[in-house]
Each structure stands twice: as C-alpha cells, then as structure tokens.
Amino acid sequence: MEKKKVVLGVIGSDCHAVGNKILDYSLTDAGFEVINIGVLSPQEDFINAAIETNADAILVSSLYGHGEIDCRGMREKCEEAGLKDILLYVGGNIVVGKQDWNEVKQRFLDMGFDRVYPPGTPVEEGIRDLKEDLNITE
C-alpha cells in the first residue's frame, strides 16, 4: 500500500525544534511519508508543501504560545488553495499560559482544526488518530 503523506512543521515565529524532530522520526517509523518544513514556518509554507506533495494531512505544532494568533484563518486559506477537507491537526503548548483545556480546545476546533492536542501529548496518540482518520489498518 502506498504511504500516506503528512506535512509537519512548527508555525509562526516559533523555534522549538525538539518535538518536531521527534515527531518526524516517529511518524516515519510508523510508516508515514513525512514532509517536514521545520520550525519558523508561516501558514503558506504548510499549504504549499501540502499542495506540492498532495498530502493527506497537515500537522501543525505550536509550542511558544502564539498559536492562537498564528493559526487563525488557516482552514480558510487551505480551502482557498484548493485543499478541500484536508486533515488539520494542531498540538504543543498552543496558547499562552495554563488555561482551561476545554475552552482552548474549542477555540481551535472553531478555527477548523480536526484535532487539537494538549501539552505533552505522547506521539503515539497522534499516530493512532491519524491512522483512524486516514483509515489505515495495519
């Protein structure tokens, strides 16, 4: 079976690289083809990479707290670019400070993300969800 493709990156002015490298390693290990655009990536870079590679999902990391500003309008931009219904995940430390998680999650769901992950989510959880959402059976 052909490998599913995922675009991976850290959005905005965010330089946190460690989680990104781990996600790359683990997703590859789990059988995905990973297009890693790395840290400090604007929305456009995610979208362009997804178009170029015809990706199945975009995994956005935001660690540094500006996630709320950086992720705004991303779903709309995807649609505009013709990425209809592409899977959109976001995770990391996506807002500033310790906030009520349910509220935070809702804010990002409202922005059009399919799945939203709290701080410290194990990679395995993301991989499990991806397999489910992309109908991958081992």
């Binding site: 002015s13 330089c15 690289a17 400090l40 707290g65 500006h66 400070g97 310790k98 410290g120």
Partner: protein, 485 residues
C-alpha cells in the same frame, strides 16, 4: 559585511547605527548622549553589572526569574510581584517571539489583541514597540536591576532601546541566539550583528556606564554536553571583550548529574578567565549563571518543585553567581505571576539553606573538570586554527564544519551530526561526535561511559537512548531507561 574579530571602528558603528535606528519608528527616540546621562543617575543597586560583581565577592548566588507580558502596566505589576512577593534578586524582561524575529508589525497586532482580550497574547514584552519611553517606565517602576532576555539573532535595535531605557544587561550572542532560535540566519550575519550589540555596550563602558552581557548558556536546553555550551560561552565572551565589554556572565544549563554540573560551572569560570587573559583582555569581570533544567518538565507541579529545588541546590554547590529560575507551570505554559513567584521562593529557600556551602573537591569532580576542559580546548583550538588566529572567522568556518555542533539546533547552519546521551550516572556524554575534533582518549572516555549504561540496561548504545533521555525528566526520571530498569 566583513566579519573579523576586531573592534568595530566608530565610523562603521555609527554608520550601521543609522540604519538600525531607522528600521522601526521607535528607533529615532534613542539619543546616546542623553542615555549616558540617564544611566549615570541609575543608583548602584539597580545596576546589573555592579550587583553581580558584589555577589561574586560575597560568594552568594542570586536568583532571577524569566517574565514578560505584552502591556506595560501588566509587565510592571508582574515584575513587582516577582521582586516583592517572590524575592527575586535580579529582574528580567523576557521579550516576545515576534520581536525576536524583528516582526514588529505582528507585535502591534499582539499588543492590540492583548488589550482587547484582557490577557497577554504575546509570550513576552515587546520592548522595541514600547520604545525607550516604555522601557524607562518599566525600569523606574521596579526596585532591582533589569535585563533583557530573548533569543534574537539581530537584536541591534532592541539593544539600543533597552540600554537607553535603563536596562543594564542584555542576554545573547551570535551563536547562542542564532542556532537554537533561528532557521536561516547565517552565523556570519548573527556574529556581526552581535558585535554591534557588544560594541554598544563597549561605548557605554567608555562613557563610564557599566553594562553586563550574558551569552545564553543552555542553547537548545536539551542534552547539550557541558563542553559544547562552555565552548560557545567562551567564544562569545572573547568576541564581546574585543568590542569593549567588561562585565561578562557566562552561562550553563543544568544537565542533571550533580558532579558534572558543578564541574561544568567551575570549568566554565576558570577557562573563560584563562582565555580572556590569554588574549589580552585583562580587566573583565567574569561571573557565572546556572540555568535550572531547561529541557522538558514534568506537568505535575509538585514534581516541578523537585526539579526547581534540585537545580537551585546545584547552583549553590557549584558557586554560580546567579541562577535562572523555572516555575511549576513550566510544562504547560507561560506562568502566572503567582506560579513564577512560587518558583523563586522555592529557589531562594534552597539557596539560603546552602549559603556558603560548596561542593568539596574530590577525585570524581577533578576528573569531570579535566574532561570538560580538555574537550572544550579541542574545539576552541581548532576554531583558532581555522580562522588563522581570528576567532570570528574560525567560528563561522568551524560551525559549518561541525567543530561545534549543537544538538537539536533548528538552524540550517548547524552541522547536526552530533548526538548526546546520558551515561549510567546521568551525565551527558557524546554518543556520536560527528566532526568534533576530539582526541581518541576523549572519544574513548565518552564511549566507555555510555557502554556502561548500555550494559546495565541490556541494550545497545544508540539513538533510542537519546530519544528516551529527551522524555525522561518530563516523565519523572533523569535517565530514560527501558521499562523495569
């Protein structure tokens, strides 16, 4: 740009300065002569350099938090809370991440949205946007010395504004604020821009104003072996001294093995002084800063207190001049002012209990110090060789070649072939040295230590150890051992 390790000429500096100040509207409010006059009136106890020197003389360890929010009044409230309730000895202003990338327009958005939302949407204080006036307002509303802490490859405008604003210390350096913080800024460019920041401090020094500079010790905060961060700190100290900087605080981020950590701080202080002397910088005051664990934290707040206090104890036993404090919210998000104060209080209590106590010299400590120094020398010697005696040129070449190689550095200018892992006592060793020019003895030493762990864990030395070690502290252990070990 013609990078050499040579004091910028006044001509060059003032020409660059025009561009720098023109790059954002608040730049025009910086008047160097007026700033000198303003800084002359800063009382002794609010001068960063002086307070550090005094602490070094008295042999005590000062505590400093990280903190910054978008709006001036909230930032003042925050700093005063940390000083009065928390008992911080030195105050920071952590700068937001847009400023770090010189994206001041986005800061404006962040400031506006923060006013609307009634909470900070920026992860720090946008000092450039608030300008000299805003920075002075902050400075005049607090009772301790102020420092900018950030992660800005090009921090020239920021430096101009904060120093004119009365802040007498600036963190950063051409390597330490590039490789961990940027993706595509060349080392040549960031070293050059930091020469500017250092030269600015040199200018103030020549005008009788003491200003402190602090290379950022922990780099990526993730399993950085002591000799790697020490080498970077020494390079940045030498480059700063050449530009006329006199007060230098070299830093180190806790790795977690107590003896290695103490050895690292001792080696750092001694070697920085040696190298400065060797290259003719005889009137610098060298102090040290120890960063509490900079990698992934446990989410549980009580466990976080354990990590924080252990870091404080290590700083005291090492004899560091100051310690940078983490908070019980570390794993989740920017701390509230209460959580931040809590971290300081746990830290100060620990420091107070250990005041005057130092780790005694032992065979083990002596060995660690000598290993760290030998490794550091290998890297530095090679850089001087590559630059034919010019450290700036040598550094650019050396980083390109992997002579210094920072683990997990996001910069494309980082070589990226070195891999670290913990040994069986938790000390961070070189698992793969890539192109770092170590002697065979040093490579063997690192390897042997890792083999000892591998044997204990009944598995091979390899990348899986590194991965396990990255998650270990967050999961409540120092060493990432396989289940049941």
């Amino acid at each position: 740009m013609n990078l050499r390790n040579k004091r910028l000429s006044d001509e060059e500096f003032f020409k660059l300065r025009e561009e720098v100040l023109a790059s954002w509207p608040t730049g025009k409010d910086v008047d160097l002569q007026e700033a000198v006059d303003y800084l002359k009136k800063v009382p002794e106890e609010k001068n960063f350099a002086k307070k550090l020197r005094k602490a070094k003389e008295e042999g005590i360890t000062l505590a400093q938090p990280r903190a910054g929010v978008a709006l001036i009044d909230k930032h003042i409230e925050l700093l005063n809370h940390l000083s009065k309730e928390g008992g911080a000895d030195l105050l920071p202003s952590t700068i937001d991440s847009y400023t770090r990338q010189n994206r001041y327009e986005e800061c404006e958005v962040g400031i506006e949205e923060s006013i609307k939302a009634g909470r900070s949407l920026l992860n720090g204080f946008p000092a450039v946007n608030h300008g000299v006036k805003g920075c002075r307002e902050v400075f005049e509303s607090v009772d301790k010395p102020l420092q900018a802490r950030h992660g800005t490859p090009d921090s020239r405008l920021l430096a101009e504004i904060i120093h004119a604003g009365g802040w007498t210390s600036n963190e950063g350096g051409g390597i330490s604020y590039n490789i961990p913080y940027a993706k595509s800024v060349s080392i040549e460019k960031s070293l050059y821009d930091w020469q500017y920041c250092d030269r600015l401090v040199g200018f103030y020094e020549e005008n009788g104003i003491e200003i402190n500079r602090e290379p950022f010790g922990p780099l990526t905060g993730t399993l950085v072996p002591p000799s790697t961060s020490n080498a970077v700190a020494i390079i940045e100290a030498l480059l700063a001294a050449e530009q006329g900087v006199k007060s230098i605080t070299v830093g180190y981020g806790q790795c977690g093995n107590l003896i290695q950590d103490v050895a690292a701080v001792r080696a750092l202080e001694e070697q920085t002084e040696e190298y400065l002397k060797k290259y003719g910088y005889n009137d610098c005051v060298v102090t040290t800063v120890f960063h509490q664990w900079m990698g992934g934290f446990p989410a549980d707040e009580s466990k976080a207190f354990g990590v924080i206090s252990y870091g404080a104890a290590t700083a005291a036993l090492a004899g560091a001049t100051k310690v940078i404090v983490k908070t019980p919210h570390e794993a989740i998000g920017i701390p509230t002012k209460e959580a931040n104060a809590a971290g300081i209080k746990a830290t100060k209590m620990t420091l107070n209990m250990l005041e005057g106590q130092r780790m005694a010299m032992s065979k083990e400590l002596e060995l660690e110090i000598s290993i760290i120094k030998a490794e550091t020398n290998c890297m530095l010697d090679k850089l001087f060789e590559l630059g034919k005696g010019d450290l700036a040129i040598g550094t650019v070449k050396g980083i390109e070649m992997g002579v210094i190689d920072i683990p997990f550095g996001p910069s494309k200018y980082n070589y990226g072939k070195m891999l670290p892992a913990r040994d069986n006592q938790g000390a961070v060793r070189y698992l793969m040295t890539g192109n770092i020019p170590f002697t065979k003895d040093l490579i063997d030493f690192n390897r042997e230590r890792l083999e000892e762990r591998a044997k204990f864990e009944n598995r091979e030395v390899g990348f899986q150890m590194t991965v396990d070690d990255i998650f270990a502290v967050g999961k409540g252990k120092l060493i990432g051992r396989p289940e049941g070990k």
